[in-house]
Homo-oligomer: 478 residues x 2
């Protein structure tokens, strides 16, 4: 046994959730700080999770006709400025390139904070006819937003994401695209990440700079704080007009196309940590786990054990699972703790007595449940257990969400509920941004969304008492 | 028939090779210029080729144990400066971020021109023991080098690439990695891109800034100019020492690991264009073609034709091929020209008479060869034709290379051969950089590599007449 390996402890999530989160990011080797302030490194294990997310989302995007492209990373300031709201929203957070080689640039260039401007500029040169519409583009890249305070995955100066950008012949088609992509994100969260979401529309105050409407999927973390999961925006023809994107329509007249954009980021890894993790570390939903099954040989020096473990590995790999054997010299205790920390969904234990009995033991990471299965039925059993892990994670997260949604009829009540119970507070709202300001100042909550599933709690705004016909979700957000 | 669609003409490659190249880049819709000088946009068709290249290379890297990571894109100037040769090589070409949000940065940050410095900085913090070695990392990203003159794919201020970075316990292991990755590139060029390469070592003058040794795969284009395909570098422990990367060795003493890096870029798309393209446009090797088979229905308004075309598509897709049907209203002539321009390797034509005869026609893009095949044998026949396309492209490119390698025994002769015949000129070389300068000034050629397959042409240097035991390849390079 190697004596230098000890099980690393992480902070108890009940004691200090923020420190627990940071501990997992580091000890599960997902991420490391870089020497540039506010920047992070995605380490192999963290990046492998991102690759799985990318592969699944990319296939979904392509299935609905989207194509990937690569746009330049630097945007001239004058180009960024053509649409006023966008530049007002993003310019304060841009990193600016002012020197290229030995020359001082005549115009400074922004490292892309988002690429609507570049896509519009491109379309203004390549789009001619309605026959070329829709153009359904997506780009996987990193962006920079010069945030003041940062946290791994949740808020960092550089982050990795996909940004979809599309243009359409009609407003209806663009709106349908906006909705389709919001649903695509909702499906990804619920079916792949096992995280239930609240779908809805952002208020004017919280919408994307320059958008006509922003739709969002909002999730709840284990500490009952809210996390904006992904957003889908409808722009109308505002950017088309600002950037001179036109096409010859069916009526032979020049028209402006209608536009959408939609994005999701590496913050989804943060969502997974905080939606499913526990005091033993990360808990990964099987579809995104770099290792879905870890096989630990028991008493591995006894004859036949390593061979049996290797045979199980080959069978599970042939069945399409991502599987590894750990036959290192580390202790069984260390190995169990290590793969729990890394959130591997299923552990298979096999030792001399199991071999004799023609069986092995499957242990679920999500709830510690052990199942003894006959070796002959391994593939089927492993897949069934992984499905149970996925289902269990989703149901637990769903309960967490449902049990932390509280109606309130006044700002004081909303504040008390947030402090005492936490979660989403739902109230009627008149539509006035002043009421959002008030809720922020007095109860520390921002509006999360106007959920599609509206309820009528009363006739008046919880903040000002004026007539109100909209129900709004509030929360303390990451 | 849509009257607004006409077949676009491109410049004859014999008349103006450079314009022919640019025409293909634009008319095959691979790339478009951006509004930022020297930057390009990878359009859907160009990016799809890059995605195919990425998928195949990434699988090869992972098969040999490499893991992907993401490093920050911005590098503090002080960090970049820790290794003198590297910074001297790259600083003159860096784009510098000097403002973040509203703040003027105390230290300017370089947009990564290459990431050795970031990897070393990371390793200096996470590496502890020989047990953690080797660390075999790779990153897919874009880099910026502030070039003065640019050409799509071949030289642009931003380009997309993979950069592998590894550290090892011993010099031997690092050297083996350097060679393995060079061979990986050579295999990719020869087996996937159907482009034969000359493998060899770069001279001191031409090696990567900061490397102990640089290895290269050199290819020849149809105009007989040379193109550096990809490079693999051995660093010894030079960067480890400069960046304080250490580990506790088997002897319990602190040691410096040995390092490699290796990279390949979107310039590979440029290589494919110039190695295989012709006056009808792009010619793509099947493994990287976004569309491998295009099905064109003949007399598509006749009953049963579109149904038959769709059925062929389903069968070829089920057989694992990337296949599309073009049932648009455009003329057959336009369609043929369009898919030739886009380099689709195989065209399938099916019309009423074919259906009646139970057959269809396969046409190879690479040489125009037509084959009539029985519908029952379609999958097998299509795969066989694609294999013939791949083989034919490789053989043709191989002949082009072999028939344009000329031995020379003096600078004058080398110059004359280059001017009259073009290609690689091989001479004996004494090892003095002054002789490389002379060849550059007098014959306009740079040294390409010291090929692994050495020949003894004489005992003396072709440039200075002093004793020489190395044979060097020279060429006019992209």
């Amino acid at each position: 046994m190697a004596k230098d390996k000890k099980v690393e402890q992480i902070t108890d999530m009940e004691v200090d959730f923020a420190q627990w989160y940071t501990d997992i990011c580091r000890k599960a080797e997902l991420v490391e700080y870089a020497s540039v302030k506010g920047f992070t490194i995605l380490r192999p294990y963290g990046y492998a999770i991102w690759e799985n997310m990318q592969r699944i989302m990319d296939a979904a995007f392509k299935k609905t006709g989207h194509q990937n492209v690569a746009m330049p990373v630097l945007i001239p300031e004058s180009l960024l400025k053509k649409e006023g709201e966008l530049v007002n929203g993003f310019a304060p957070e841009c990193a600016w390139v002012t020197q290229g080689g030995s020359e001082q640039l005549e115009e400074r260039l922004a490292f892309r904070p988002t690429s609507e401007t570049m896509f519009c500029d491109h379309w203004s040169r390549v789009l001619h006819s309605y026959r070329e519409l829709p153009m359904l583009y997506n780009q996987w890249c990193s962006v920079i937003r010069w945030e003041k305070t940062t946290r791994p995955f949740l808020r960092s100066r550089e982050f990795w994401w996909q940004e979809g950008h599309t243009i359409h012949e009609t407003a209806e088609e663009a709106m349908a695209e906006t909705e389709q992509q919001l649903n695509c994100y909702a499906d990804f969260y619920e079916k792949v990440l096992a995280i239930p979401v609240v779908k809805g529309r952002k208020t004017e105050k919280e919408k994307f700079a320059g958008a006509e409407a922003t739709y969002t999927v909002e999730c709840m973390m284990k500490d009952h704080k809210a996390l904006q999961g992904a957003t889908s925006h409808y722009f109308g023809d505002k950017f088309s007009r600002a950037y001179g994107v036109t096409f010859t329509g069916r009526d032979n007249r020049l028209q402006y196309p209608f536009q959408t954009s939609w994005g999701s980021t590496t913050r989804m890894i943060g969502a997974v940590i905080m939606a499913h993790g526990d005091n033993n570390g990360l808990v990964l939903p099987p579809p995104i786990a770099p290792i879905q099954v870890i096989i630990l040989p028991v008493a591995q020096h006894k004859p036949g054990v390593l061979e049996a473990a290797a045979a199980l590995k080959d069978r599970l790999a042939a069945a399409g699972l991502r599987v590894q054997v750990d036959d290192s010299e580390n202790s069984m205790g260390w190995k169990c703790a290590q793969y729990e920390m890394k959130g591997v969904p299923l552990r298979v234990e096999i030792g001399p007595r199991d071999i004799e009995a023609g069986q092995c033991v499957l242990v679920r990471r999500s709830d510690g449940e052990k199942t003894v299965v006959s070796l002959g039925a391994l593939e089927e059993a492993a897949k069934a257990q992984l499905a149970l892990v996925q289902q269990g994670l989703y149901e637990k997260a769903k309960r967490n969400l449902e049990e932390h949604c509280w109606p309130a009829w006044s700002v004081e009540e909303a504040k008390r509920l947030q402090e005492e119970k936490g979660g989403f507070i739902k109230t009627m709202w008149c539509g006035d941004v002043a009421c959002e300001q008030k809720m922020k100042e007095e109860a520390g909550m921002s509006s999360r969304c106007l959920p599609f599933a509206q309820e009528k709690l009363s006739d008046v705004c919880a903040c000002c008492g004026r007539p109100a016909d909209k129900m709004l979700f509030w929360g303390v957000a990451y």
